[in-house]
């Protein structure tokens, strides 16, 4: 089911949670709403489900306006962060719930319901747990039950509110791969709310980065990671080194002579911020070009798949984080206290409005 969010605004008291947000999601897509807590992503999800009503704007599902439609008419499946399983029912009864509350005329027969429950528990690989109570399951198992329960009513749209947020790192990783496979099998339109950028980039077809009630950027994981639209997105999607500076006369002169920009001297004095990812910084033991910054090695962390080196710039005293492959680190063989030269392979400069 395709989704159209049309200029939606939501306020709680005087606080604007969503500020004129518009979004389109294609049928069959899995989209992640990504942002820090309080950015409005969960509110947007709850508005789509019908658990909240927008103050302004409209919601369309499959081209039909549903802004004022009741939850039960929307046919959406909702998966809660803390599972929200019915604690007094067995796993099987939990999964069957959506079918047993159907009006008598639409309700499948008892045997058909049982069959369906078995099928769904098979899908989430929990057949053996059918007679257990939620309190007897691990967090990961509970969330899979919650997913099976949401799928039982054959929703055309699946909404997941930080579904793996309460799980430990390893289970979280397993479950999100499993979710992606499940999505590829079922082709249900899905919206996943998360504050974990790694999760969003790995699972989703498209990522919607949100901040303070606004959408900052929409794009494929590659697009938002490689081409962040603004400093916020840059910072939010992974570690980054930030260098503050002002545009100097010489810089403009040089750019002009190299034909890189037609900038005028009006730009002089403008603030600019340079963003460089730790793995986009190159280290060398001797000066090879003018662009390099001289820095002292403060700490080296070798645990993990990559080596992280923390430097201190000798000019500004600023801390710089560099990520190296193990091979490169062995080649360089730098130790704490030694002096190295840093330069960015790839950087992104954002002009900032004068303060």
């Amino acid at each position: 089911m395709s989704i159209q969010v049309d200029h939606v605004t939501k306020r709680f008291g005087t606080f604007t949670v969503l500020n004129d947000v518009s979004l389109h999601v294609e049928e069959g897509e899995l989209v992640a709403l990504l942002g820090p807590s309080g950015c409005g992503k969960t509110t947007l999800l709850r508005i789509l489900a019908g658990l909240e009503r927008p103050d302004q704007g409209r919601i369309f599902l499959q081209g039909t306006e549903v802004t004022d439609q009741r939850i039960s008419e929307r046919r959406v499946g909702f998966v809660f962060q803390h599972y929200a399983l019915f604690r007094h029912m067995t796993v099987a009864d939990n999964v069957a719930f959506g079918l047993t509350v159907l009006p008598r005329t639409q309700r499948p027969s008892e045997t058909r319901i049982q069959e369906k429950v078995r099928e769904l528990l098979g899908l989430v690989q929990l057949q053996a747990m059918a007679d257990r109570y939620p309190s007897q399951l691990s967090g990961g198992q509970r969330q899979r039950v919650a997913l099976a329960r949401a799928l039982a009513v054959e929703p055309k749209l699946l909404l997941l509110d930080e579904p793996f947020g309460a799980l430990d790192a390893k289970v979280r990783k397993e479950l999100r791969r499993w979710l992606r496979r499940l999505h590829d099998e079922l082709h249900i339109t899905g919206i996943l709310v998360t504050h974990d950028q790694e999760e969003a980039l790995e699972v989703a077809d498209r990522v919607v980065v949100m901040h303070q009630g606004n959408i900052e950027q929409i794009g494929t994981p590659d697009e938002v990671y490689e081409n962040p639209a603004n400093p916020f997105v840059y910072r939010f999607l992974g570690d980054v080194n930030v260098f503050h500076g002002r545009v100097s006369e010489e810089q403009i002169e040089q750019e002009r002579s190299e034909g890189r920009s037609g900038g005028t001297s009006e730009r002089a004095g403008e603030r600019e911020v340079t963003f460089v990812r730790p793995h986009d910084l190159e280290l060398s033991r001797s000066r090879t070009n003018d662009d390099q910054v001289e820095a002292t090695v403060r700490t080296v962390l070798t645990a993990g798949s990559r080596v992280r080196v923390e430097l201190m710039s000798q000019i500004s005293g600023q801390a710089i984080e560099v990520e190296l492959t193990k091979e490169r680190y062995r080649e360089l063989a730098v130790g704490e206290g030694e002096v190295v030269f840093v330069h960015p392979r790839h950087r992104r400069v954002f002009k900032m409005p004068p303060p």
């Binding site: 489900a49 658990l51 019915f86 604690r87 719930f97 959506g98 159907l102 329960r149 949401a150």
Partner: protein, 302 residues
Amino acid sequence: MKPIRVTADTDLQWKDSLTTESSLVRRLLIAAAFFYLTLFLFIPLAAVFAEAFKGGMAAYVGSFLNEDALAAIRLTLLVAFVAVPLNAVFGVAAAWAIAKFDFVGKQILVTLIDMPLAVSPVISGLIYVLLFGAQGWLGPWLAEHDIKIIFALPGIVLATIFVTVPFVARELIPLMQSQGRDEEEAAITLGASGWQMFTRVTLPNIKWSLLYGVILCNARAMGEFGAVSVVSGHIRGLTNTMPLHVEILYNEYNAVSAFAVASLLTLLAIVTLAAKAVVERKMLSPIIVADPVLPVQAGSSR
């Protein structure tokens, strides 16, 4: 292995001696508690039954087998029969509103529910006399229409309801607050109607606390003296509840009968306590675990 275990044991003892008092202090505290309970609970309780059976079994039974005593018992049961279900329904509704929704005046409602506990029962009774009594605000209108509230059954029921309002609601509010709205929202997103959500999700989750509240509410409804005393008028065989009947008998120096009826109320208290203990245990283990298998790690089942 052995040396390690010894170390662990001594560690434990060392920790014990840090966190608990010496055995002398412990024994003194326990003895003090027992002395206090014996003096103020067990002796009076024993005295009630001793006095009740002073005249022998026949006199004991005879205390109940007269018109006035039977009427008092019937009235008490009737009052509880009306007041307890009403307060159960009100308590669930109020707790639901307070725990699951935000609205203006929520704090005022919470305070109002607690009020009957803070106000002296005699005052609670007087409120109704002031409202419905012959000289009260609505008195003349009621007299005109020949409706009797004060010194009649409606007044007794009203006073009892007022006094027992907090019991169910106060039991449910903290529980429902801690359970949150998640399960109800899940039920709604799965297509349940409001009524289905209530009967299939909300009610099963609160049933033991509700029962607990009802038990306390019932005990208070049957035992209430002050408020009922003010509105009842003490008409024998008509508006006397059991506690009032006990007082009248006692004032007439009919000690055996007074204590006999009192022993019935005492039995009610004991039954209440027993029921409360059973329900409390159910509340602590909301789910009866059929086979206590340890949770399997997620993912290991694939």
